[in-house]
C-alpha cells in the first residue's frame, strides 16, 4: 500500500490473516498497538510466541497441555477413573464438561469432526490415538460427546463402529442439547442432563 511504512504494512498484513479480520479491522488493531506502550506490545508478542512454544499435546488424551506437563493435569490426576473415556471434538468441550463436575473419568480430544466438505475424514482426527488407548485394555466405557449436529453424529457413528468390538460399552450423550448447537455454548444443566441420559448406540 502506498504511503505505508514497512513495519506498519507488515503488522496489518499479519493481523488480516486472522479469521474474521478484514483489512479495515487489521488497520485499526495495528494503530492501536502503535499507540500502546512498548511493554504492552512486548507482552502481546510474548503471548503469541508462547502459545506455540509453551503449549503441547497430551500424549494420552491429545488435549492441549503446558509444555513439560505430560500427561496433562487431568490424565495424571490419580483420582480420575481410568476406565472411562469421554470423547469430545475440541479442548473447549473438555472445559465445558469439567464445569459440570458430572464426569470423573478421562477425556479424548479429536480436534475436529468428520466433515467431507472440509476434507476431514476419520484419519485426520485423533482416532488412531484413541484406538491405541482402547487396545491397551482396561477401558469399560467410552462416552461419545461429539456435538449433536450432523458432523458430530457422523463422527460418533464412525467411532461406535470401530470401537464396538473393543469396549464393553460405547455410549452417546443424549439429545436435549440444542440441535445444531456447539457443546461449548451449552448451559450446565443441559450438559448434566445429557451426560446422565447417555445411551448405547445401535449398530
Amino acid at each position: 500500500m502506498a504511503g505505508l511504512i514497512a513495519p506498519v504494512a507488515r503488522l496489518i498484513e499479519e493481523f488480516s490473516k486472522l479469521p474474521g479480520i478484514g483489512t479495515k479491522t487489521a488497520q485499526r488493531l495495528t494503530y492501536h498497538v502503535l499507540r500502546a506502550s512498548t511493554d504492552d506490545a512486548r507482552s502481546l508478542a510474548a503471548a503469541l510466541v508462547s502459545i506455540k512454544e509453551d503449549v503441547a499435546y497430551c500424549s494420552v488424551c491429545c488435549n492441549i497441555t503446558e509444555t513439560g506437563v505430560d500427561p496433562c493435569q487431568i490424565c495424571s490426576d490419580p483420582r480420575r477413573e481410568v476406565a472411562h473415556i469421554c470423547v469430545v471434538e475440541e479442548p473447549l468441550d473438555v472445559l465445558a464438561i469439567e464445569r459440570t463436575g458430572e464426569f470423573r473419568g478421562r477425556y479424548h480430544v479429536l480436534h475436529g469432526a468428520i466433515s467431507p466438505i472440509d476434507g476431514i475424514g476419520p484419519e485426520r482426527l485423533r482416532t488412531r490415538e484413541l484406538m491405541a488407548r482402547v487396545a491397551e485394555g482396561g477401558i469399560d466405557e467410552v462416552i461419545l460427546a461429539t456435538n449433536p449436529n450432523l458432523e458430530g453424529e457422523a463422527t460418533a457413528m464412525y467411532l461406535a463402529d470401530v470401537l464396538g468390538s473393543h469396549v464393553a460399552s460405547v455410549t452417546r450423550i443424549a439429545r436435549g442439547l440444542p440441535v445444531g448447537g456447539d457443546l461449548e455454548y451449552a448451559d450446565d444443566v443441559t450438559l448434566i442432563r445429557s451426560l446422565q441420559g447417555r445411551r448405547r448406540i445401535e449398530r
Partner: protein
C-alpha cells in the same frame, strides 16, 4: 387496473412497522404499512424490492436473492438490522422481530442473530408469529423454468408451516452437500465407499420426512387450486381441471395407484424406498461424484386437463395457473398460523389488465398486501382506493399525504 384495499375488518395481527438500518441501499428507513393495501411506488432500481426482501428474509430466515448474506449489508457498514413490529388484531400484545446480519467485515461479536421480543430464537420459531408470501415477477416462469424454482415454491410453504420440517429442509441440504463432497473423495480414491453409510441413512430419513411434508402441502394445494383457477381464469379458461403432481426419483409404483388415498406413502415406507434406491445407484454416484437420489432432485409438474402445462399450455394459461398456485399458497399458510403478509413485487406489470384486475380483487380479501410498482396506472388505481402510498425519495421512504 383494479387495485382495491381490503375491507376494514379485523385482519388479525399484521405488520405495523418495518425499520431498516444499513440494509442494502438504505442507511435508515421506516415504513408503517396499512393493515390492508400499501403501495410502494417509484422507478426501477431505486430499492423497492429491497423493502420486500427485508420483510421476506426476516420471516423465512434467508434472502431470496442474495448470493452471500453479507450482500444485504449496506456498503462500508459493519451490519444490517431489520425490525418488524407486528400488532393490531384482536389478540393481545404485539411482537417484535429483529434480524441482524453481519457485513463482510463485521465488528467483533456481531453474528447473524434473530430475536423475537428481545429473545434470541431460531427462524423456525417464527411459524407462530409471522408468515409471508412473496410473489416475484420471475415466478411467472415458474412452470417452465428450472426445477429448483418449483422446489423453492413448495419448500417455502413447507418451511413456514412446520418447525420440524423447516429444520429438516436445512439439514437435508447439508447432508447432500456433505454427501457430494464424500462422493467426490470416493471418486478420487481418497475415502472408502463404506464411509457413506451414515450419510445414506440421514438422506433416507430426512429425505422421507421432507417428501412427506411436500406431499402433504401438494395435497392441500390440489384441494384448493381448481376454484382459485376458475376465479382468476379468462372465460375460455374457466372450468378446466388443474392438478399438481410430485415427481420423485424413487421408481416406486405409488403414483400409479388408483386410489388417491393410497398414493400418499408414509414416512417409513418412503425411507425404505430411499434406502433401496440409494443402494441401486451407489456405484453410479461414486463415478459421478454427486448424489443422484434425494429431495434435492425432485420436481413438481402442473397438469391442465390431464396435459402437461410446461409443454402444452400457452403463456396466458400458465400465468393463470401460477396465480392460482400463489393464491393457494396464501390460503394454505393462513389456515394453521398467522395470516401471511402478501408481498407483490411489481407483478401487475407482467399481467394483462383483466387478469391483473381479478388478481387484485382476489388478493384484497386476503389480508395485508404490500405492492411495489413502477407503473403509473397501477399507482393511479391504488390512489383512488384508499391504499397507503409510499415513495422512495433520496433513499428515504415518504408517505404520500
Amino acid at each position: 387496473m383494479a387495485l382495491r384495499a381490503a375491507p376494514r375488518v379485523d385482519t388479525g395481527k399484521h405488520l405495523t412497522r418495518l425499520a431498516l438500518e444499513n440494509f442494502r441501499s438504505y442507511a435508515s428507513a421506516e415504513l408503517t404499512p396499512d393493515p390492508g393495501l400499501t403501495v410502494v411506488a417509484g422507478p426501477n432500481g431505486i430499492g423497492k424490492t429491497n423493502l420486500l426482501e427485508a420483510i421476506h428474509a426476516t420471516i423465512v430466515g434467508r434472502s431470496h436473492r442474495a448470493g452471500v448474506e453479507a450482500d444485504l449489508v449496506r456498503h462500508g457498514t459493519p451490519f444490517a438490522r431489520v425490525r418488524l413490529d407486528l400488532g393490531g388484531g384482536t389478540g393481545a400484545g404485539g411482537s417484535s422481530v429483529e434480524l441482524v446480519v453481519p457485513g463482510p467485515e463485521p465488528m467483533p461479536g456481531i453474528r447473524k442473530r434473530l430475536t423475537i421480543n428481545g429473545v434470541p430464537r431460531r427462524t423456525s420459531a417464527l411459524t407462530d408469529v409471522a408468515r409471508v408470501v412473496l410473489f416475484r415477477p420471475e415466478e411467472m416462469l415458474l412452470l417452465v423454468g428450472s426445477p429448483s424454482e418449483r422446489r423453492r415454491f413448495l419448500d417455502g410453504i413447507v418451511g413456514q408451516r412446520d418447525r420440524r420440517a423447516a429444520r429438516d429442509l436445512v439439514d437435508v441440504a447439508r447432508v447432500v452437500t456433505q454427501r457430494n463432497a464424500l462422493l467426490r473423495a470416493i471418486r478420487a480414491e481418497e475415502a472408502p465407499l463404506d464411509a457413506l453409510a451414515f450419510w445414506d441413512e440421514q438422506l433416507a430419513q430426512l429425505g422421507a420426512r421432507v417428501m412427506v411434508a411436500r406431499l402433504e402441502v401438494l395435497r392441500e394445494l390440489n384441494e384448493r387450486i381448481v376454484p382459485l383457477h376458475d376465479a382468476v381464469a379468462t372465460d375460455t379458461e374457466r372450468g378446466s381441471d388443474v392438478s399438481l403432481t410430485y415427481l420423485d426419483g424413487l421408481k416406486e409404483a405409488w403414483a400409479d395407484r388408483a386410489d388417491p388415498g393410497e398414493r400418499m406413502p408414509g414416512e417409513g415406507e418412503l425411507a425404505a424406498a430411499y434406502r433401496r434406491r440409494i443402494a441401486d445407484v451407489r456405484q453410479k454416484e461414486a463415478w459421478n461424484g454427486v448424489s443422484l437420489v434425494g429431495p434435492q432432485r425432485d420436481d413438481l409438474r402442473a397438469g391442465l386437463d390431464a396435459r402437461d402445462v410446461a409443454s402444452h399450455a400457452s403463456r396466458g394459461q400458465q400465468r393463470t395457473i401460477i396465480l392460482a398456485m400463489k393464491l393457494a399458497e396464501t390460503d394454505l399458510l393462513g389456515i394453521d398460523g398467522p395470516r401471511p403478509v402478501v408481498l407483490l413485487d411489481d407483478v401487475f406489470s407482467e399481467l394483462d389488465p383483466d387478469r391483473a384486475a381479478r388478481l387484485s380483487d382476489l388478493i384484497a380479501g386476503r389480508g395485508q398486501v404490500i405492492v411495489t410498482t413502477a407503473d403509473p396506472g397501477t399507482l393511479e388505481a391504488a390512489r383512488s382506493r384508499e391504499a397507503a402510498i409510499w415513495r422512495i425519495v433520496d433513499g428515504n421512504l415518504e408517505r404520500e399525504a
